[in-house]
Amino acid sequence: MRAVLAVKHHLMNRRRSLVPIVALAGLFGTFAVMMLTDTAGQIGAIGLAPWVGLFAYDVGLAGGLAAAGLGLALWFIAADTQNTSLTALTIGIRVTAFLVFAVGSSIVGRRMRESDKAHRTQMSLQTALIDSTLDGICLTDVRGNVLISNVPLRRISVEMGLPPMGTVPERLLAIAPRTTEPDRYRRRMREIADQPMLASEDEFEIQGSSRVFRGYTAPITDADGRFTGRIWTLREVTADRELDRLRDAFVAAVSHELRTPLTSISGFLEMLRDEEQTLGEEGRLYLDVIRRSTERLQRLVEDLLLVAQIEAHRLELVLATVDLDEVAAAAVEAARPTAAEKEVALRLEVDGAPPVQADAHRLAQVLDNLISNALKFTDAGGEVVVSVIRNGSYAQLAVTDNGVGIPLDEQSQLFSSFFRASTAMRKAIPGTGLGLVIVRAIVEQHGGTIDLESREGKGTTVTVTLPGAPEAVA
């Protein structure tokens, strides 16, 4: 792109220095022919005027007028020498013609230069624009020859070891042996080369370097839908893949190294329960502590794995028509012992919410998390209300407490992993800061929305809105 501009610029400079000389040579040459062949009458002013026009076009108005003067002077000399009869009318017509040529051509010349400059400015803006992205971008013609490419593309091409010559498909095909899956890569490149209208997105790794690139290509068509070339973009995704690898390793480690001992801990704990009566009161107390801690650890492991799954966009839902009232009722019942222990009133209000197309297990997780949060942050004597209502075609679920609330400036961070509100930290309320991340991901995966309203010292309301199941809407 830059090279094209530079060549054009160079050509323009050369033309500008050459044109006035050619114009002057033309003027004097024509004059010489008139003089030598004695044809001032036949050739006349009309033979000199184009050269005036050319000079004015290139040099501008002042130069053009000077050339017009010169042209007229040469014509007068020739006419005088050859005794061509001149009347005031013929002189007037010639002078006017020379002036019109000079003025007109200089205006046209200026317009052309301005438009050329605007075009070059536009081109350099476009170049700056496509160079400013981190992705490599290039445009090719029908045969695959590069028309435009940006700086990142040229850098990535060098890093990938693409040969400098040839069409883009040829150059991409040349590195097939260096990719980790040469056959798949080669097949894909051939498909792209053979099927002009194919759009494709592929990832490939360069052997030995562990560098992974993601390429995208799509056809470009003209107004009639005819194939006129391709756009290609290339991006290095090595860091993303490394993160994925780390996340997978983390999930494997947590799954394996934590779930295995947890299995024997909770298993033997369950067996011990059968012999609980043989333990003294103190022993039973210790057992309770172990049991609670084990449950907490289990929840943490499940939450960590779920967040990893969410971050990898691998959360899958098992959808069925679900009655939100039932899910809420079950969640409220499950939370009753905790509410009683904390002396917080727990109330359920249901009012004709439509059924939803949802994963009942995941929705139960949403409710468990929200109710558990509300109970945790509400002092004895407070109240938590779970309501499930209809809002148009939507089912709306709200969990309201009159607990400690969340400071306004912290509310936007509540849905970030491991974030804990200062009110929670101050009161040493246990938690990992993963609950709301999970809740939001599940709600959004269902096509729903979640809103939080809170005032410090007054309480919090979390509202989840889910679209009603299609048959229920109709």
């Binding site: 799954s255 779930r259 295995t260 299995t263 024997s264 794995l305």
Partner: protein, 107 residues
């Protein structure tokens, strides 16, 4: 005769817990032989994340009996072998394990 349940679990402590649970449920726990053919049993309790345990399924002389998976990985991990009739994720309660095995034997 009490049903025999083969336990294919790589972790010794978990294995011990499973043996006790199987016994308490009224079945006979059978240890997995480290090599050679596997004796006929009525069900297999398997950790599919362990390649050693999975390869056991190929060493049955006769048909592979119903398999109950108890894994550190969720079902979506795609480790569930053919012939699996139930899939539990660790840590699973003895009650859940009991339900899965009872559904195999119908008692």
């Amino acid at each position: 005769m009490r049903p025999r349940v083969l336990i294919a679990e790589p972790n010794a402590e978990v294995r011990r817990f499973l043996e006790l649970t199987v016994e308490r449920l009224g079945y006979v726990p059978v240890g997995a032989p480290s090599a050679g053919p596997v004796p006929p049993v009525d069900a297999v309790l398997l950790e599919p994340a362990s390649p050693g345990s999975r390869s056991l399924l190929h060493r049955f002389v006769d048909d592979v009996p119903p398999v109950v998976c108890l894994s550190v990985y969720p079902r979506e991990a795609g480790l569930e072998p053919a012939g699996s009739v139930a899939y539990l994720v660790k840590p699973s309660s003895a009650a859940a394990l009991g339900n899965a095995l009872r559904s195999v034997f119908g008692r």
